[in-house]
Amino acid sequence: MIIGLDVGGTHTDVVLLGQEGLVRQNKVSTNPADLFTTVLSGLEKITDGIDPQCIKRVVLSTTLATNRIVQQRMPDVGMIISAGPGMDPELFRTGPHYHVVSGGIDHRGREIAAVDADEVLKVADTLEQKGIRYVGVVSKFSVRNPVHELAIQEALGERFEKVFLGHRIAGALNFPRRIATTFLNASVYPIHKEFFEAVVNSLAQKGLNLPIRILKPDGGNMRFDASIDHPAQTVLSGPAASVMGTVAFAPQSDTCLAMDIGGTTTDMAVLVNGVPLLDPMGIKIGEHKTLIRSLDTISIGVGGDSVVRVVDGQIHIGPDRLGVAMAYGGPVPTPTDAMFILGVGEGGDLEKSREGIQALADELGIDVETAAQQIYDKACQTILDEAGAMVERINAKPVYTVHELWEGSRLQPRHIMVLGGPAPWFAKGLERLGDCPVEVVPRWKVANAIGAGLARTTCDVTLFADTEREIATAPEESFTKTIPSSYSKADATAMALDLLRKKAIARGANADHLELEVVEAMEFNMVRGFFTSGKNIRVMAQVKPGLIHGYDPIAEKIMGDHFV
């Protein structure tokens, strides 16, 4: 059996899935100040009376680290940066313990200036004197050649509890993001480690030895212990859980929009042939632009509990939430209240809703039903407009080859799938105002936790080969190999897929059912004078985001038991 647990802002959803479908579902309140207790009580409740031996996997989606970053409750972290020529590295300063040292690597991974070990040792002394325990080391173009980061790490020796190296966090180029991401990893490391140990120990004490995994923002997961070296990858996986919750039910040969409509926000993503689109760059956390891969999602401040106001004779919805709808005892009118009046929603105290919406109607000089209709339409229209803007933005992304520009077809979503608490109520309005059919995801209230539970283990590999230098490297994997000058793009692709397979299995993927794909494979002749001196080859491969093998019967059962 599988457990999926998704920590949301208000509620934490937990599901237990078995061959018979959805076996149990639970909601516990989220205590933002103590997520550990929240997670633990969720797990205890769902496993109550179940033999732990039967539980094959537990996937947690938490925003623990994000909260820490947003609240800026982070420990002091030392950063050692080697930049060489280019932008002034001071521009990327992460805080007071940021030290720029000598050394330079160029775009092909060649050394252009050496690292000075004595200089690094002086920095290490300073950091140690300040009581710093966690250090990030980043050099420019380290993903082309990590020797300087490794040399600095060696000079640091055993003097710090944990040293994070930039080239291990992502294969993509972007020095400022590599600095920010390395900094975040070092910063959230102690809290993530503490959380990890607390969860594992507490469960063990109760005799629950659960195989725990953590959901990542790219919609995949990794083993809990593997996350210790990549703690920042556990941030912001909430939207990914929602998207994965729709994957099992999305059309396999069409483009569709997934929308998780919650109390405060609506999170959206695009699925092409059942596979969610990834953000080409990396997630943004607070002020930090990172290299952490994520699904391409947007979050807008419209949900069932958004505050509805009249400003200058116009209805405004959100982006804030002050509590539940008035129908449930909340302080201000919300779209949920409007839907009750229109008879779209159900439950709660209709009189309270009417009271709240009436005040707005008076301000607008219209009757309460009209006001409710306008609020409902406005909320649905805003969601549709933002979805349209997202699709526009994806279609406007730059491309770098003739082929892509010429052949690149435009995305045109033809289905909308909604989930989240108020999903069925919004679905009717979205269908009426939009131009495509809207479906409610089965088990819409806990589909996010189901998605987390069924998500695959994902990872990616970037391989870079230079036949002039006779070297192939995948720095993120600490892989370097001498290659012959006859090495080809096909060789590089095979090598990248091999590395990817090993990495995925180490992170907990099922070796028998790996869906690998080559995202990019480019080969350039390097010409010096007028002669070809070698080839410059770049290959990126990934595990396709998706659901674990064998989920189909479970999904079918879930779809079958018409809870809707």
Binding site: P85, H107, M522
Partner: protein
Amino acid sequence: MLRARNKTGLVFFPAFDWAISPTHPEREERLLYTQDQVFEEGILDIEGIIEYKPDLVTKKDVQRVHFCVPDLWAVMTESHFISAGGAKTIAMAVMDKQVDCGFALVRPPGHHANRVVHGARGFCNVNIEAIMIEYIRKAYGVNRVAIVDTDCHHGDGTQDIYWHDPDTLFISIHQDGRTLYPGSGFLSEMGGPNAVGSTINIPLPPNTSEDGILHVIREAVLPILEDFKPEIIVNSAGQDNHYSDPITNMNFSAQGYAELTTLLKPDIAVLEGGYAIEGALPYVNAGIILAMAGMDYSHLKEPDYNPERIRQSPEVNRWVEKVCKKVLENWYKRRQLGEMARGDNRFIERDRKIFYDTDNIYERQHETLRVCEACGGALRIDSEAQERKHILAIHIPRNACQDCHDQGLAWYEEADADAYDKVYLQDRAADVMKEKVKPA
């Protein structure tokens, strides 16, 4: 968060899957390291630097500038539609005020492409700057445009297209034509009889370095621009003046290019040549982007940059100063020079031979210009490429006076379609292109 002082648009189109031939200097790899450097420096993450996806140009956009022989499809590849489209995209973003300025890092380049195109010259098939400029003239009503070509080669194609246009100031700074392709661009080339002075050539001796090129910008280019008062400034930003460029002999640097950009303040820059694809382009392009955005570029240097080693000699100093003086002198005398060139003629004719080095084509042109003080003048070009097509091209300028318009139409009407493979009318006043084909 890092923020650009000037909002800057970028189109990055490295055309990773297109080249003339595998070992050609203008090939797939050309912008690879530039892209690596720009990506690694995180330049696209700077707030206020906006990357656009290139639009394609239309057939009409191209026909506003060129007479393509035998037709547009024979001279344009997909890459040309995109690279000219990239320049157009940037120009639109600037004109729509989405950004303050913009840089199209696209390939293939275009500044050796003339008005009549039988094939490729100097790796160029169509003139991407001219296509862009004529588009914004049509769409946004821009009239006075200045083009400053800082490519190491003479921008002979752009010069040809604007030779008779008094509203387009074309300034080309380049290595002296006696020492480098295409062998033109001398001080005496100052524009056609109706537009004397609007073409300015500033030939510099081999081994000119930062001091010389920046001196030219400060002492000649900026005062002339001030005087001409263009509505927009376009920089044909070729980067082959670099000290490490394999096909030229100049000594310019990344810092120099960035400084030049800061001084010139172009509204739109379009990448032209530059073939030191590893040692120069990554640093030069990053420098130009930062300079356009109004950001610090003082840390951006080539790894082997040594200003002492490339410093120019006193002889070069003297040459540069002399050239600048002469250029200014000509500029201030341009009206008298124009009157002298026109004399009492009603029409002025010239014969030219044009060699297409990339495609090995010889073209002969016989040109007839209506002398006019009110507009650029109606233009008639009889063009024949050896063992290829023979065409007649008639151009009516954008701001044509009634007489020139009538003259252009008359030339087209009376042209004997039998005598040519094709007769073209490029009526810019009406923004139409017409063709008469030899009867079968």
